[in-house]
């Protein structure tokens, strides 16, 4: 005999402002099988939950309906309360009176009528609920960190230091990311590589970390605690164990004029190359797209000169199949380049560069050994213009957001220029100064007050070249929008930070959400900045949104602790709201006819084949079987099955039918 308890929440005023909660509770209380019906201001509060627990005992409830907010908010809360009150948690349902009713309608009788209808459907449903038990799955205690920049490095080190194994994948030949390209970091003007390389070495030497560089994720299957990741180790064309990293091959390679990615195109590299001197691992790779041997079949000089005979031209890519429990995505970001700007010449003027290119000029290990020189003629620029907000905060260019770091690095660039070219003049065209971090505002003031950088508030309409100089046409809005024209030797654009190339592909492989700008989506913008909506996959660093180094490092440590928390359990419990293919007695075994259409539509590859054999070992019937570890309970197979052999726990055909009939019938 069903005895249902109904609890109608006011949710402060969220529900009660438009729904008459008292009337709902009263009307529902009169229904058949409703043993107890009441209203309360905040069901999720402690006293609210106690109300449920007490009612379960007092009225011997067989089911509970909490009519409140969305189950996405508080289903776990109320299920837990029921469990503590002695009722199987899966005998508790929520009726959404907030997102589905009070928040989308005005206050009137119809709204209350709708609320009553919603509760009735859940009352009818819960009468058919089963007392399910959670599913337990094992956890593989190995983490994968995708991306070897500062965020990935921090995350990997933190996880490894908790005693768990980490596999780090980085697609370029060395770890380090953009931080390794910087000359100095704000606000301390620390040498970037000096503070980064010790961490890089720690990663390489850590006993718990296995590092694969020049490697990319090929595919990801499985679910939290039980991922199966295929990684493609691209062929470096040498034996890493035999190679000593002496670098002789890189000096002898005849192909010397390949634009150097690390130098952002400001310098060249050979076809066999180590990206930068402090690379980790310190092993070269052969760029097969530009190597003479792979193009024409000739040369092989590197093989000839190599003292340890480490070159392997025929080395194939290797596919690794890894069992992973949790994944941290730390794939970083990219920036727009000068060709993105039609009004600044579509990239045809050599002396208009972007922020990363300036970093390489300023860097002691860069193409000019740290001298600020014009790319066009190698002269020292005496008049330099920095343009902030180049591309960012610009809906017309499709980038409405602020890239966060540019105000700070522009001030830094201006200061570095002034420190190196004492007699030079630096101008910054800005819209606002966003220097909200610790010691950031003081840093920007230093640029203005101590280094006499000329800050002009206004944007630049156009830049063109004349007689080897750049004519910059801007404006000073603080002087009443007075046009300002500067004849500059060099222009540095603080370009917009955008998602890393290949971010969309990777998100698709991981089944992780991303936004219109291809930045990975956090699970909740306020409260879950390091988790994604995909259980077991976490975010760290600028792949989520442009951010500076301290924020990346903090987020990385945050992601690491989520992984550690996951690994601290011996097994994971999963919600048992999964699909099940029916089974009957032999010789039928199931009403499933073995068409396996369900298998082809399942988005989670959760449907397997089960073969039934007779005594001679011959297969007499093959039917579908749901892997309850993988099934996410979406119901696609249930809807599709032509023989109606599949049902869904928690949303069974009968339950859904009961809800519909509740709406259609009078009460």
């Amino acid at each position: 005999m069903a005895r249902i308890g109904v609890f109608v929440c006011h949710c402060g005023e969220n529900i009660s402002a438009t729904v008459d909660c008292g009337k709902v509770a009263e009307t529902i209380g009169k229904l058949k099988h409703v043993a107890y019906s009441t209203e309360y201001k905040y069901m999720c509060s402690d006293p609210g939950q106690t109300l449920i627990k007490d009612a379960i005992k007092e009225y011997n409830l067989t089911g509970v309906v909490v009519s409140a907010c969305s189950p996405r908010m508080h289903e776990p809360t109320f299920r837990k309360a029921c469990a503590e009150g002695g009722l199987n948690p899966f005998l508790c349902e929520m009726a959404n009176l907030r997102e589905h009713c009070s928040w989308v309608h005005e206050k009137n009788e119809l709204t209350t009528e709708k609320a009553i209808d919603i509760v009735r459907t859940q009352v009818e449903k819960v009468k058919l609920n089963s007392a399910l038990q959670p599913i337990k799955v094992p956890v593989t205690k190995t983490a994968m960190v995708i991306g070897g920049g500062i965020a990935g490095i921090q995350s990997a080190l933190d996880i490894a230091n908790t005693g768990h194994k980490v596999i780090m994948i980085e697609r370029s030949p060395s770890i380090g990311g953009h931080m390794s390209q910087l000359s100095e970091t704000f606000p301390t003007l620390d040498c970037s590589q000096c503070i980064l390389t010790p961490r890089m070495v720690e990663v390489a030497q850590h006993p718990n970390i296995t590092l694969y560089t020049y490697a990319e994720v090929e595919s990801v299957e499985g679910f939290i605690g039980n991922f199966k990741v295929k990684v493609r180790k691209k062929a470096k064309s040498l034996d890493e164990k035999t190679c000593t990293g002496c670098g002789l091959c890189t000096t002898k390679c005849p192909q010397k004029k390949i634009p150097n990615e690390f130098e952002q195109g400001m310098g060249m590299r050979p076809a066999i190359y180590i990206p930068f001197p402090q690379a980790v691992p310190n092993r070269p790779v052969i760029d097969r797209e530009h190597c003479t041997y792979y193009i024409k079949g000739k040369c092989k000089i590197c093989e000839i000169v190599c003292p340890t005979k480490a070159i392997r031209f025929d080395q194939p890519d290797e596919i690794l199949e890894l069992e992973i429990g949790a994944i941290v995505v730390a794939t970083g970001f990219d920036i727009k380049h000068s060709d993105f700007f039609p009004e600044y010449g579509y990239g045809k003027y050599k002396d208009i560069i972007d922020g990363l290119q300036f970093e390489r000029l300023a860097s002691a290990s860069g193409p000019t050994s740290g001298a600020i020189l014009r790319p066009s003629d190698g002269q020292v620029p005496k008049n330099i213009v920095f343009i902030a907000c180049a591309g960012s905060r610009d809906p017309a260019k499709g980038i409405a957001y602020c890239s966060k770091i540019c105000c700070m690095y522009t001030a830094k660039h201006a200061m570095l220029y002034k420190h190196k070219v004492h007699e030079g003049k630096a101008h910054v065209f800005y819209m606002d100064i966003r220097s909200a971090g610790k010691n950031y505002e003081e840093f920007v003031r230093r640029a203005i007050e101590e280094d006499y950088v000329n800050y002009i508030r206004g944007r630049v309409s156009t830049i063109f070249e004349r007689d080897g100089k750049l004519i910059v046409k801007g404006v000073d809005t603080l002087l009443g929008a007075q046009p300002v024209e500067i004849v500059a030797d060099m222009v540095v654009l603080a370009t917009a930070g955008v998602a890393s190339s290949g971010a969309e592909d990777l998100a698709q492989k991981l089944h992780v959400s991303y936004d219109a700008h291809k930045f990975f989506a956090e699970a909740h913008p306020k409260l879950k900045p390091v988790e994604t909506n995909t259980a077991g996959i976490f975010l760290a660093g600028a792949c989520q949104n442009p951010k500076d180094i301290p924020d990346s490092v903090s987020q990385a440590s945050g992601a690491a602790v989520k992984v550690a928390a996951l690994f601290s359990q011996s097994e994971l419990t999963r919600e048992p709201l999964v699909a099940v293919v029916n089974r009957t007695a032999p010789p039928m075994y199931s009403t499933c006819i073995g068409c396996f259409m369900c298998q082809s539509v399942c988005p989670y590859q959760a449907i397997e084949r089960e073969d039934f054999k007779n005594r001679d070992g011959k297969i007499v019937k093959s039917v579908a079987k749901i892997n309850e570890g993988l099934c996410q309970g979406c119901g696609t197979c249930v809807a599709l099955c032509r023989s109606k052999s599949i049902d869904l726990y928690g949303y069974s055909n009968n339950q859904v039918y009961a809800e519909v009939m509740a709406l259609l019938n009078e009460y």
Binding site: P342, E343, T462, E465
Partner: protein, 281 residues
């Protein structure tokens, strides 16, 4: 396909040379078009500055007349008229209520179905396919291709060439043997309709355009708009006086340049009517 031409007031008056070159080219390439019967002035700058409805009604009458004559495409050599016609077509398409009001004002039916081509589009579509074989005297000069404002902006409505550093005119000129120079002033305003009321501003702005072209070593400035031509050519004495210098660079319509390249005489393409002597041909 039936073609119409909307010469506009300039081509029949102060830009007579442009008109001559357009018709001469059409004749040389066997293209026929008919003037839109009883066409009126499009209203140019004056109408849209002073009276919105009038600024839509005048072009709408022209388009309605073209439709009535069964014209599929209209060629509009004047960039300002081109701009007014395309913008009017766009506005009336966007706002059916406005369209009905304008139909009432012009006392005519208007459907907005005509194709509107500016002079470079017309050249690209109907002349360049047959151009190479007809070239007798390649136009071996360095040219600064000046587009002006209204051929390329507002680019979202005109949908013609990119607003920054457009290339269509440069490409046409290189097809007749010219070498276009990299010319940052190609879309900077010449001062437009202020020619008479603020000649000083036109002198200042047009002077900058001319100076940059000469500085980059161009032998001629190529234009596709009679207003631009007027400000850069007819106003040359005022410009020279304002800047206290003698700018000599000639200003040639693209149709005139093509005409010369296919062997037409300077007189046939109206070169003799210019204010600034054209001593290249």
């Amino acid at each position: 396909m039936k073609f119409g031409i909307y010469p506009g007031c300039s081509l029949t008056g102060s830009a007579r040379d442009y008109n001559e070159s357009v018709f001469a080219l059409a004749k040389a390439f066997g293209l026929d078009f008919m003037q839109i019967p009883d066409w009126n002035c499009c209203g140019a700058t004056a109408a849209h500055n002073l009276n919105k409805e009038l600024s839509l009604a005048l072009p709408a009458r022209i388009l309605a007349l073209a439709e009535k004559s069964g014209m599929d495409e209209i060629i509009v050599p004047c960039a300002a008229c081109y701009s007014r016609l395309v913008v009017t077509q766009h506005e009336l398409k966007k706002n059916p209520e406005l369209k009905n009001r304008i139909c009432e004002v012009i006392e005519m039916d208007y459907r907005g179905t005509s194709g509107i081509l500016n002079v470079i589009e017309w050249i690209d579509k109907y002349i360049t396919p047959k151009l190479e074989e007809k070239i007798i005297k390649p136009f071996n000069y360095k040219v600064a291709c000046y587009y002006g404002c209204l051929l390329v902006r507002p680019d979202k409505i005109l949908n013609y060439d990119r607003a920054e550093d457009p290339q269509t005119l440069d490409i046409v000129m290189s097809k007749i043997g010219a070498t276009p120079v990299d010319y940052p002033y190609k879309t900077e305003c010449c001062g437009a309709g202020l020619s008479i009321s603020r000649t000083d501003i036109v002198s200042k702005l047009s002077g900058k355009i001319i100076e940059d072209a000469e500085h980059r070593g161009a032998d001629a400035i190529i234009v596709a708009c009679p207003m631009c031509h007027s400000n850069l050519d007819m106003r040359r004495p005022d410009i020279n006086k304002y800047w206290e210098t003698e700018y000599k660079i000639p200003v040639i319509f693209v149709t005139q340049a093509i005409g010369l390249a296919i062997g037409l005489s300077p007189k046939e393409v109206g070169l003799k009517r210019h204010f600034v002597e054209v001593n290249i041909s």
